[in-house]
Symmetry: C2
Subunit: 335 residues, 2 copies
């Protein structure tokens, strides 16, 4: 029986509450609340629309002394682009609601929209409207995006199964390393890895091309993007697929250069947010075919573990140690 209210617990708890209560079946909604984007049927034939929204709040999600308005515009839309990528879709249109203090300079506003629209354009998405509001304090950006399926091939968080192999694109923990550098007061690092880390945090590149290929390949069973960190997101993939998972830490594509700054690359890879890489599962007997056919032009896909039977639990295996339960240390807005 659905609960009366979501309590004050956690983001997952609130979303679960909404999903239980409001994902009523309607023939036009193929997937409602609870995945990276909603999936809407347009008619008996034709492509699906993918719909997603994200909100960024100053002081919680970004700081104006770290990010330029142009970078903020680009970053704001990247979360939405990544959601569409995670469904295997193609970004098309977006609206932006922007809340700014009344005396914000015109130059700031134009730079924000420049960053936003350039990043959108790069991935094929066009600005079609929005709303402007004044705020007293924290700048707030909320973007809603429409994407489109290609050949109706959409990937969900559900669909994975026991013994599927788990993969991620790119490097994990790089954005977190960038955040730590900024927290240490390093805004303009001299080293190449330092620059990469800060760029990953301030100007993430969503994996739209990879997402599209993965959906088209027919080899992927389920997918999501990594926005809150592997330890927060992998349990969501498992819960949706009705599995648990084991991650082999020795396989993780960590951002090793972070060691130089006294950071633990493994910790960042497991718990750091905003990498906007893709996490997906491939059936074991198709893994060899997948690894052979995955294009070299895309960000590398790395096998990190496997799905197991069970109910949404994630375990890590490290050489010479017993397997350990991976608790989410990723960011939760309501914990």
């Amino acid at each position: 029986m659905p609960k009366r209210d979501p309590g004050t617990g956690s983001e997952n708890g609130i979303i679960q509450f909404l999903q239980d209560r409001y994902s009523k079946p309607d023939p036009s909604i193929k997937k409602g609340i609870g995945d990276d984007a909603a999936v809407i049927r347009r008619g008996k034939s034709g492509e699906y629309w993918l719909v997603t929204t994200d909100m960024l709040v100053e002081g919680i999600d970004f700081r104006l002394d770290w990010i330029t308005p142009r970078q903020l515009g680009a970053k704001s839309i990247s979360a939405n682009l990544s959601d569409i990528a995670a469904m295997g879709g193609r970004p098309r249109f977006y609206t932006v609601s922007l809340g700014i203090p009344p005396r914000m300079p015109g130059r700031w506003i134009s730079e924000f929209y420049r960053g936003l629209t350039q990043q959108g354009f790069r991935y094929g998405a066009l600005l079609i409207g929005g709303d402007l509001s004044s705020v007293r304090e924290s700048i707030t950006v909320s973007i809603a995006m429409l994407g489109e399926s290609v050949g109706r091939k959409v990937l969900y968080r559900s669909g994975g199964g026991r013994n599927d192999l788990l993969y991620v694109t790119g490097t994990l923990g790089r954005s977190d390393a960038g955040l730590r550098l900024l927290q240490q007061g390093v805004k303009r690092p001299g080293s190449r890895p330092g620059k990469q880390a800060i760029r990953a945090h301030l100007q993430p590149d969503p994996r739209c091309e990879a997402g599209l290929w993965l959906a088209q390949s027919g080899l992927v069973r389920c997918m999501m993007d990594l926005s809150d960190g592997l330890s927060a997101d992998l349990p969501r993939l498992c819960a949706a697929s009705g599995t648990s998972a084991e991650v082999d830490t020795s396989l993780l594509p960590v951002f090793r250069e972070a060691e130089k700054w006294d950071l633990d690359p493994l910790h960042s890879a497991l718990h750091g947010g905003e990498d906007f890489e893709l996490l997906f599962a491939v059936k074991k007997n198709r893994a060899a075919l997948f690894e052979k056919s995955y294009p070299r032009s895309l960000p590398p896909a790395t096998r990190i573990g496997r799905m197991t039977g069970g109910g949404g639990e994630v375990w890590v295996i490290s050489a010479g140690r017993n397997r350990q339960r991976l608790d989410s240390l990723g960011y939760d807005h309501f914990r």
Copy 2:
């Protein structure tokens, strides 16, 4: 030549800047920035999608001591429903981004979503997704809505012409009267008009049915909804249509009961925001037909003036006085 930045001027100025710069023609976009909703082609045939977004910010757009969470949910979505109504479309789907302080009670959250989804459902719109964020201070709600045209009949702000007659639905200034009552500390007025006024402010009823009829009638040339007040919105309709306008104050359907509370009903009707009534123009030689065929079951449509030649100026005529320029005293976030 488009300006480099929008200055710090006004909401209109910023929107004009965005429109000049970003409403690039794309074959799939029938109407981009600058109307109540964007209009997207889905293919060579089939209906258009209408897309709109609105943001409400605590302390600017609402106060928690005046509005219950259920009313806030309903009010948040009403602005979007009204935008779809203003295009003559049918609401279908929406996402909601909600920013709330970390310790918001679960009961508040469930009541908010209850009000939101009940109001959406009443007008045929279904919740398909969203985002949750924590905020430090002001609760922020941003909703994006997808609507659909019916028979591809969509009404724009543009399309009006000289000598067209102007009409509004319902009563103007009632929401403003409700706001004034609340500001005077009257939360539970005893009188029926008082209750009506506060209800109009806290739980507005968007004119979806009327909007749909008006678009289907084939008699309406342009339309928008009244969200910022007649003195702010009518110049926008005129600017889009390349006209000016004259409003006859003796014709305005003011909320006369507001006199009892020492309010000026005419002032509220001209400048008060959030009535969410529809404002539209009918060609003069079709006005009689329009008035005869407009259904009595819908909120009354009242003729309030006419469009004239010129460039976006609005004049008021009052009995026994020279015509006067109507300056916008409606709310502008950035003035």
